[in-house]
């Protein structure tokens, strides 16, 4: 994989506000990359420094081996899909899509209508060319914005929260279409989103950002299974946190977890590193289980009392209390045939496995 975008020591200040703190980041050719984080974490600012709408206060942005310092947005090999889509309301759909071709001397005028039609076909809007842009629905605007950017065959397509304005059903449909589109054109996509599920579904790699810094950069599975810190774990999916005492941190990490007891885990389960002393372990709701009557397990068990039951149809979420832990622990269970749904205050046993623990500093 060839690196395409290289950010080195990027800092951005707005007056006293430190928007980007020493960002080092390499994004590869053909990659679907996501910048994920809560609002105000700097993910949009980072995207805009790549696009050229914001300068950097320090550090460098390289695209395709060229330093972008002093290169304005119109001269960069990037195109952007804006959060508001920014469809030009005074032009037709075809004129919108052809807009970027006007400054391209290398593309003959006679080729342009066919290119526009191809681009519209690619996003599923074939035959919409003559429509007025301001009469389109949200999903259609989104597609026009994509066609308008992709027709220029940029090295990088930047997507600034492109799905946030759509309803849930449309959003899920567009997620799939965007993945398909990205595989089809092979262009690097950089997606900014605050929706962890969207990032997990779509990306090859995700950078999780907090307060202008990258908290963790990994592929979706590693990010989900091995979060390096509590705030990454909290942001991606649901996770239970239990206080734990690390008693030894050599080849294997020896732990005493509140409520669960003593266990040992390999170093991989402490991606953020582990030191002897008090720490936290995280465990996902689906990695825990409830031992129903008539079922058996070879894993470890701990007594618990049901505190809260939330029924989702395919799943049931139980909040249970175990001795020695203050906060209730959430467990998600598939509602399989023959399995009852427990009631509040029922006595039960929780199944756990040391392989599912993540040790965090």
């Amino acid at each position: 994989m060839k690196p395409l975008i290289e950010l080195t020591g990027v800092q951005k200040f707005y007056g006293d506000y430190h928007a980007l703190r020493d960002i080092d980041l390499t994004i590869n050719e053909g990659e679907f990359f996501s910048l994920l984080g809560p609002s105000g974490c700097g993910k949009t600012t980072l995207l805009r420094t790549i696009a050229g709408f914001e300068g950097v206060s320090e550090g460098s942005v390289m695209i395709g081996g060229k330093d972008m310092d002093g290169v304005s947005a119109n001269l960069r090999p990037t195109n952007m899909v804006f959060q508001s889509y920014a469809i030009f309301p005074h032009l037709t759909v075809a004129e919108n899509v052809a807009f970027g071709l006007r400054k391209r001397k290398d593309i003959a005028k006679s080729d342009r209508p066919a290119m526009v039609e191809d681009a519209l076909k690619m996003v599923g809007l074939a035959g919409y060319g003559d429509r007025a842009a301001h009469a389109l629905s949200g999903g259609q605007r989104q597609r026009v914005a994509l066609a308008r950017a992709l027709i220029l065959k940029p090295k990088v397509l930047l997507l600034d929260e492109p799905l946030s304005a759509l309803d849930k059903k449309m959003r899920e449909q567009m997620q799939v279409e965007l993945i398909r589109l990205q595989r089809h054109v092979g262009i690097t996509f950089i997606l900014v989103t605050h929706d962890q599920e969207e990032a997990l579904v779509m990306s090859d790699r995700i950078a999780v950002m907090f307060e202008g810094e990258i908290g963790q950069l990994d592929d979706p599975e590693t990010l989900y299974r091995r979060p390096k810190s509590k705030r990454v774990a909290e942001f991606i999916g649901k996770m239970n946190f239990l206080p734990a005492e690390v008693t030894s941190a050599s080849d294997v990490i020896a732990l005493d977890v509140a409520g669960l007891g003593k266990c040992e885990v390999p170093q991989e389960q402490a991606p953020g590193g582990a030191t002897v002393g008090s720490g936290v372990v995280g465990i996902r709701p689906e990695s825990l289980g409830i031992l129903f009557e008539g079922e058996t397990t070879d894993r470890q068990l701990v007594d618990a009392v049901v505190d809260e039951v939330v029924y989702y149809g395919d799943m049931t979420y139980y909040d249970v209390r175990i001795a020695g832990v203050e906060e209730p622990i959430t467990i998600s269970m598939k509602n399989m045939i023959g399995r009852p749904v427990l009631d509040k205050d029922d006595q039960t046993q929780v199944i756990w496995d040391a392989r599912a623990l993540v040790v965090m500093p």
Binding site: A51, N74, N79, S84, A86, F88, G100, R102, K103
Partner: protein, 266 residues
């Protein structure tokens, strides 16, 4: 009920005198009084043949067109700056720019006369009037264009830049077409204000009077009153037409840019 009566009374009080203009403009008598004596279009005919009037109308049109162009250009610059997210002392500067809107015209007229004649040593001409009219029309232009510019999604300009346009060409290919209705609206309102402005023109006029100044001079001769009425009728009709066009364009522009109507002058 009483509120409705009040509103009707208010409207009658406001518009009745104006309604008298066309009535006496078509009345076959030199004396402006009821009962009406008959229908004539002679007074309009007389308008067509009075050379001094033609000169005055020509002056006024030249002044009004130039003023409208200048104040719309200045208004565009100010509104564009006002739509930018941050620059120093923005609120203060915008306040001062809008101040001529509330300054008494007579004060503006006298001080400009002193500046032009005593300090700068300029002769009075159409250009001194244009300068003064631009001063009083620009705030109106800014108010109208502010609405047009602030309703624009800032991403539109960025999208144009992103698609390869320079700042200059992005302005002309995206922003200008979208604020065009506001530009026309501003042009028409500035034109109307300048065309019938009297006080400043009276103070600053050179050898050639503007139309309002000429009309005022006619009032000394009772015989020419019906001619003034005829001229007034044409002016009222023209003003209503222009302001209606301006308002329609302003509303259409807001609808086009997908913004919310925050109220104009009408």
């Amino acid at each position: 009920m009483s509120l409705r009566f009040y509103t009707i009374a208010y409207l009658v009080f406001l518009y009745a005198p104006i309604m008298l203009l066309p009535i006496f403009a078509f009345n076959d008598a030199t004396i402006i009084a009821f009962p009406l004596s008959g229908f004539t279009t002679d007074w309009f005919g007389e308008l067509m043949t009075t050379k001094a009037l033609h000169d005055a109308v020509g002056n006024s049109l030249f002044i009004a067109l130039t003023t409208a162009a200048l104040s719309t250009c200045l208004g565009m610059c100010a509104a564009r700056a006002g739509a930018m997210p941050h620059f120093r002392f923005k609120a203060g500067i915008m306040g001062f720019v809008m101040l001529p809107l509330v300054l008494p015209e007579i004060i503006v007229a006298v001080s400009l006369l002193v500046v032009a004649v005593q300090i700068l040593g300029l002769g009075l001409s159409n250009w001194t009037i244009i300068a003064a009219h631009t001063l009083i029309c620009t705030p109106f232009s800014i108010a109208i264009l502010n609405g047009a510019f602030q309703n624009l999604d800032p991403s539109l300009e960025e999208a144009a830049l992103d698609l390869g346009e320079s700042r200059w060409s992005a302005f002309w290919s995206v922003i200008f077409p979208l604020v065009m209705p506001g530009v026309i609206s501003s042009f028409l309102i500035a034109f109307t204000i300048s065309l019938d402005e009297f006080i400043i023109a009276f103070f600053l006029t050179g050898a050639n009077p503007t139309m309002p100044v000429y009309i005022w001079s006619l009032l000394r001769f009772p015989a020419s009153l019906p001619v003034v009425m005829a001229l007034g009728t044409i002016l009222v009709a023209l003003s209503i037409l222009l302001l209606t066009i301006a308002e329609i364009l302003r509303r259409r522009g807001i609808a086009k840019a997908g913004g919310k109507d925050t109220g104009g002058f009408l």
